[in-house]
Amino acid sequence: MPMPARVALTAAALLTISCSPPVIEYAPPPQRVLPGGVEANLPMFVRISEPNIEKHVVQDVLSDQPGAAWRWTNQHPRLKVLIDGDPANSEFVVEFTVPGVVLKQTGPLQIKFLVNDHIVGSGRYPTEGKQVFHTPVTREMLSNPDQAVFGMDVDPVYVAPDGVKLGVLLEAIGFRQAAAR
């Protein structure tokens, strides 16, 4: 074989060797251990001070600084949560404050409490101060298996000089284990 051909062949062989991709292989990795236990229940009791409170608000809850302990409601506040687990043994709880400034303008407040548009209780509130409404969770409250919308209908409401209808100062609302109250 002439020299130039040999050189060319050698170069081609070297090129071929140098271009072959290295074999990439691995041993089996450490085996993942999946998290044990059961899925954490989602909170169905909403505190207004939660950082993500806006995600629960459907209507008629005024905006405020994140972390504020309470927020003004309008006439028909509604908040939603995802149903997770069985809340049948829980109770529906609403923590709120009847503000004196409203009572002075409107007189006693009549408040209806609702879950998924079902009226689950009502009360007359003639004096200012913190109030807690609670009632056991019933099957009729759980008409939607995936989501619950909690609400209050406040009547009458104070119409502020800027035209905003103000109801109560809401602090917390939702389903809560009876024992935890």
């Binding site: 990439i24 041993a27 990795p29 999946l34 059961v38 954490a40 993500n52």
Partner: protein
């Protein structure tokens, strides 16, 4: 105001260094040219040299402000010493006086808008995501480091090197101002060319068509690179024209160098290299030896400008042209399947079809992000320039740079061909003495920033009225940025909240220019792709890997075993787990096993890690014959193989091949049955564990984006804690 001074000094130094380098180069190459040409070409060619110098300093890990300033001092001193700033010839003024007056009125009038925008704090989407963010990153590290989680770091960054230089002195807005220099320079290149071909008015018309064009105005006043790209390729063409006249090696070198710089600015402008070489060879038919020498010289200097980027990518991400051609250069950092989707998206950006492009790119400017101006609807008349040799050359260059456009139909990607087409159109308009001033006047009127909203799309990408208070920093930069970008408040908190070195997965917020933490997006890398997919797999039924293909066969002995794909599909097949069984008992995965894959071998372990969340994927279109291989290390008895795939991949089909130890592969005749597996509980939590195993400690989500609600509603199930909330952006810590 002090900040403004730094910005202006940075801009001036960039210009001064570029000009000196370019002027010295042109004199060394002995290219004969007139004063206007010299000014234009000195800056553009010099910017290529300065860019390469900054690249080399960054590659040498000495990217310090002091080093850049020292280099500037040397360059500028050399410029003065060799009289680089003095013109070689007196300026020729061939345009009619009326045109010159009109030019300067429009140039300065629009320039007032432009400079006000360019000086304002930089907040353009791509600017803060990578055009400025990456140079800032290099400066913090004082050099290049492999960045494998952001494909934009792999694009050629010729102009970003100039941004890096300017940023070291004047920070973010200095980058935008450097880009603005190219917008200011390009019209003078067009004017000079008009004079050269004896059509000074045509040069003037083209200069105004380009300079006043809304997309040039918008793009050229932020830290993007498209106007610079247009200027560089026009300079390349100009150098080629000089070679055509002078036939000197120096002119050929200049053309080659600028063609290579075009590639260094944007990969797609690499089409300029064959244009230069082809033109030189074709233009030297009578003196072919001389032509070949000139072409070789041009090719060499083009290679010098291109090579740094190719080598950097080869070393860092094993693909010289990353993030493209990943099938040709397989690598562990970018999926070919992602590249395919990415290309497809930009080929049909926002669903725009080919016949819609003229109206979208010239009038509406909404779906293609920017508008050239309605006057560019006259471009078909540019074909009349084919009657003249200069027109033919311009249209050929315009056509060459138009070719890559169809890979990304955004208006910005037309800009590289516009100077050529504008000149060709101007040559035609110039023949109608009464029409051409009217066209220019109409273009100016329709391009005026306050007129644009009257006809362009509501969300067209266009200039706003300049905020001089912000531009001059009377309004503090922070105040302006908080109003301009809804993510700014959050990203400014990252440095305070997230410890250095901890990675943040950020699907929708890519602003990386105003903090120093590592945001990893869902699309910019394999790691991002995999992580995003995994989060969806934890939440969406169809993506769960609950479909089990069960291959049951009479017991056989196997040393090696393959799962061979039997099907072709545009989607990449994914496999979460491959398990081997004998007598209904799974063969424990032994450390002596060796796992391989014919494609995407780097992720093969994901099919053997006992996690239904992680998958091995072919990472490209699924083709028959692709396989996963297990070398058992010894001969074992197997009577069943199971392969788990996502529910959505009902088309998955494969077969088993076995090597019993004699090196011969035999297919096991078997049709798999399909079962549905139970999805284990707590997979959201498992996904977070996987993210932590991949190095993530944080998650940044904007309200309203995919998965954001799920994290808010089910934060307890994910196991994440919200640490910061600002302007609808939430920073979650992975617990």
């Amino acid at each position: 105001m002090k900040q403004v001074v730094y910005i202006l000094v940075a801009t001036a130094l960039t210009y001064a260094c570029s000009y000196a380098l370019g002027s010295l180069l042109l004199r060394t190459l002995s290219v004969k040219m007139r004063r206007g040409e010299e000014r234009f070409l000195s800056f553009i060619a010099g910017s290529g040299l300065l860019s390469t110098i900054v690249f080399l300093l960054t590659a040498a890990q000495v990217a310090y402000k002091g080093v850049f300033l020292a280099a500037s001092a040397v360059i500028i001193a050399a410029g003065f010493w060799r009289r680089a700033y003095l013109p070689v010839e007196a300026m020729e003024e061939l345009e009619p006086l009326r045109w010159r007056i009109a030019f300067w009125i429009l140039f300065l009038g629009f320039g007032w808008f432009y400079v006000g925008n360019a000086l304002a704090p930089e907040c353009s989407p791509d600017g803060v995501a990578y055009h400025v963010a990456l140079p800032a990153h290099y400066l913090r590290d004082h050099g290049f480091r492999p960045i494998t989680t952001n494909m934009y770091a792999n694009l050629s960054q010729g102009i970003e090197m100039l941004f890096e230089y300017a940023f070291s002195i004047g920070k973010h807005s200095a980058a935008a101002m450097v880009h603005f220099l190219f917008l200011l320079t390009l019209p003078f290149g067009l004017r000079a060319y008009g004079r050269r071909i004896g059509r000074p008015r045509a040069g003037m018309i083209a200069a105004l068509l380009v300079y006043l064009s809304p997309v040039f105005g918008r793009d050229g006043t932020v830290a993007y690179v498209d106007v610079a790209a247009a200027a560089v390729v026009f300079a390349m063409f100009y150098a080629l024209e000089l070679w055509r006249e002078q036939r000197t090696t120096g002119a050929a070198i200049l053309a080659g160098l600028l063609a290579g710089f075009g590639f260094a600015v944007k990969y797609t402008l690499g089409v300029g290299v064959p244009l230069v070489l082809g033109a030189i060879v074709a233009g030297s038919r009578r003196h072919w030896k001389q032509g070949l020498r000139a072409a070789a010289a041009a090719a060499l200097f083009a290679a010098v400008m291109m090579a740094p980027w190719l080598i950097k990518n080869w070393l860092f991400v094993h693909n010289p042209v990353s993030p493209f051609y990943n099938t040709l250069f397989p690598n562990p950092y970018v999926y070919a399947s992602f590249e395919q989707q990415y290309r497809e998206f930009f080929r049909h950006m926002n669903g725009v079809q080919l016949p819609e492009i003229p109206a979208e790119a010239t009038v509406r400017g909404e779906r293609l992000a920017g508008l050239l101006g309605p006057v560019f609807l006259l471009l078909p008349f540019a074909l009349l320039a084919l009657r003249r040799p200069e027109g033919r050359r311009l249209l050929l260059a315009g056509a060459v740079f138009l070719v890559p456009y169809f890979g990304n139909i955004g208006t910005r990607f037309l800009m590289s061909s516009i100077p050529f087409l504008a000149l060709a159109l101007a040559m035609v308009l110039d023949e109608f003495r009464l029409v051409s001033p009217l066209v220019v006047a109409l273009h100016a009127l329709l391009s005026w920033p306050s007129v644009l909203p009257l006809y362009a799309g509501t969300y067209a990408w266009r200039l706003e009225r300049p905020n001089w208070s912000a531009a001059l920093r009377i309004t503090p930069e922070e105040t302006y940025l908080l109003q301009a970008r809804d993510d700014h408040q959050m990203v400014r908190r990252l440095d305070a909240v997230v410890p250095a070195g901890e990675a943040i997965f950020s699907p929708a917020i890519g602003n990386s220019a105003y903090h120093t933490r590592n945001l990893i997006g869902p699309f910019e890398s394999r790691l991002g792709n995999r992580t995003y997919d995994m989060l969806f797999r934890a939440t969406i039924d169809d993506l769960r890997t609950t479909r089990r293909l069960r291959f049951h066969f009479p017991a056989l002995t196997a040393r090696r075993l393959r799962v061979v794909i039997n099907v072709r599909n545009d989607q990449p097949l994914a496999i979460s787990e491959v398990r081997l069984w004998n007598d209904s008992k799974e063969l424990p995965r032994d450390p002596s096993w060796r796992l391989r894959a014919s494609v995407n071998p780097w992720e093969v372990q994901s099919a053997f890690d006992n996690s239904p969340l992680t998958v091995w994927t072919v990472g490209q279109r699924t083709e028959p014959g692709m396989f996963l291989q297990i070398d058992l290390g010894a001969v074992r008895t197997v009577d069943e193989v199971t392969v788990d795939v996502p529910e959505v991949q009902r088309w998955a089909d494969s077969q088993i091949s076995v090597d019993s130890g004699d090196g011969v592969w035999k297919s096991v005749p078997n049709q798999p049955t399909q079962d549905k597996l139970d999805w284990p509980p707590r997979m959201r939590r498992a996904a977070i564990e996987e993210m932590k195993a991949s190095g993530f400690r944080w998650l940044l989500l904007r309200d309203g984006e995919l998965l954001a609600d799920d994290f808010v509603e089910r934060s307890a199930q994910w196991g994440v804690h919200q640490v910061e909330y600002a302007n609808r952006c939430r920073l979650w810590r992975l617990e």
